[in-house]
C-alpha cells in the first residue's frame, strides 16, 4: 500500500465501503500520507458530550495528543467543527489569534503541529463526527488538498456507519475508544470523592490542564491509585 496513489486508494476504500467494510479497512497512517498530512483522526459524536476519538494511527501520537488537548481544554478545531457543522481551518497555530482558542492554541504550539483542518462528517444536516487533519508545516491548505480531504471524509463516514453497534457498545472488537480509560477513571473518582460522573470528568480535565499532563495519563494514574485527586491536589 506504500506506493499507492490517492485516487486508487479512495477507489479501493469506496469499493470496500460498498461491500459493508468499516473503518478497519482504512489505516490512518496511509490516509495521512496520501492526503499529505502528518496526522489524521476521526471522532464520533455521542448523543451528548464531546466527540470521542475512534480512529487514528497507533504509531503516531501527535493526532491523539491534539485531540486529548481539545477534550481537556474544552475548545479547539474538532470541537468547533462538531458544534457548527462547518469546516474549521487554521493555517498557522503559532500566529493564530489568541481570541480564537485562548487555551488550545498555546498548548498546541507546544506540539510540532502548526496547521489544522477539522472537517465535519455530515449526514444531511446532522453532524455524525469530525475528521481532523494536522500538519507540522504552517501555511494554508491548497484548494486541491481540501477537496481531497472532503472526498476522503465522505468515504470515511460510510465506513464509520458500518461500525457494528454491538462491538462499539461493549468494546468487544470494533473500533478503539481512545478515551475509554478517561471514562473508567471518572467512575473510579465518582466513588472515591462521592461526586457525579460529570464532576469527576471535570476534575480529571482540570488536573490534566493544571499539571500539563495528557488526559489518558491522568486517567491511568487515577485508576492505578497513584493519583487521588481530592481537593488538596
Amino acid at each position: 500500500m506504500a506506493r499507492d496513489d490517492l485516487p486508487g486508494y479512495l477507489q479501493r476504500l469506496r469499493q470496500a465501503a460498498r461491500t459493508g467494510a468499516d473503518l478497519s479497512a482504512a489505516q490512518a497512517a496511509d490516509a495521512a500520507r496520501l492526503l499529505r498530512l502528518d496526522a489524521v483522526t476521526l471522532s464520533l459524536l455521542p448523543t451528548r458530550g464531546p466527540p470521542e476519538l475512534l480512529w487514528s494511527d497507533p504509531a503516531d501520537a501527535l493526532g491523539r495528543a491534539l485531540e486529548d488537548l481539545q477534550t481537556t481544554l474544552g475548545e479547539g478545531p474538532t470541537l468547533d467543527a462538531a458544534r457548527t457543522g462547518q469546516t474549521v481551518t487554521e493555517a498557522d497555530l503559532s500566529t493564530a489569534s489568541a481570541a480564537r482558542w485562548p487555551l488550545f492554541t498555546p498548548a498546541a504550539c507546544d506540539t510540532p503541529a502548526r496547521a489544522v483542518i477539522a472537517h465535519p462528517l455530515l449526514l444531511g444536516v446532522v453532524t455524525a463526527g469530525v475528521l481532523t487533519g494536522y500538519r507540522i508545516t504552517p501555511g494554508p491548505l491548497p484548494a486541491r488538498q481540501r477537496q481531497e480531504i472532503t472526498r476522503f471524509a465522505r468515504i470515511a463516514l460510510d465506513l464509520l456507519l458500518h461500525t457494528p453497534p454491538h462491538a462499539l457498545a461493549t468494546g468487544t472488537g470494533g473500533p478503539d475508544l481512545h478515551r475509554a480509560e478517561v471514562h473508567q477513571a471518572a467512575g473510579v473518582l465518582s466513588v472515591r470523592l462521592a461526586i457525579s460522573i460529570d464532576d469527576a470528568l471535570l476534575r480529571l480535565r482540570a488536573h490534566a490542564w493544571r499539571h500539563n499532563q495528557a488526559l489518558p495519563d491522568v486517567a491511568r494514574a487515577v485508576i492505578t491509585g497513584h493519583l487521588r485527586l481530592d481537593s488538596h491536589n
Binding site: T47, E52, V125, T163, P165, Q184, G187, S190, V191
Partner: protein, 246 residues
Amino acid sequence: MPTTDREARIADAVLDLVHRRADFDPLELLHDLTGQVVALLQVRCAGVTVLDRDTHEPVHVTASDELCLALEQEQSALGEGPCIDSARARQPLPVTPLTGPPGSVRWPRFAPYARRAGITAVAAVSLGLPQMALGGMNLMMTHPAGVSDQDLRLARTLADAAAVALAHQQQLIDKDTVLAQLQRALDSRLVIEQAKGVLSASLHLSMDEAFQRLRVHARSRQQKLTELAARIARGDVPAELLDPSQ
C-alpha cells in the same frame, strides 16, 4: 441550436424535482411532478398512485387537480386502471383510448367512469421508487392526438427525476437510522466504561473483573447491560452487586 422557451422550462422542471431540501415531503414532490407534466404536455391532468409492494395497497395518491385525484382514487377503490397496471407491471402504458377497446375492455369499470368525466384516453409511466414501493403516473387526455411518443418520453424523464430525489431521501433516512444506532452504541459504551470504574473502585476489582461482574449480573437478571451500567454510573449500585453472597 438555439434553446427554446419550452426546453428551458423542461430543464427548470427537472431541476425543481431533483433539487430539494433533505427533509422534503414525498407527497409534495409527487404532486409537483403532476403539475410539471400538465404544464409541459397536452394533457388534461395527471395523477400519481404509489402502492405498497407486498400488499398493493395505495400508499400515496396525488394529482394535478381535483378531477384527476378523483380518478386516481377511483382506480384504487376499483382495484383496476392504467395507473395501477403500470405501477404493478413497472411498465409504461402507451396512449390508450377509453372510448373503445382496448381501454374499455381492459378496465370495464374504470373506463366508463373516466369517460363521464370527459377523459377519452390515458397513458401511464411507471415510477422507480425506493424501498421497493411501486408507483405509476397517469396522464389523462381529452385530445389524445396531441400527445406523442416523445411527450411520453419526457413524462418518463420527469418521473425518473422525481424517483432519484425520493431514492436519495430514502438513503439519507436509512443512514440517519444507522447513525442514531451508532451514537446510542457510543453512549452505551461510555456509561459501561464509567460503570466499570465505579465497580472497580467500590469492590476493588480490576477493570476486566468489573466488566465481567457487570455482564454476569445483567445476564442473570435479564437486564440490559446498558441500563444496568447507566444506573451504576449514576451512583445507584444494586446492593446484590456489592455483596455477591446475596
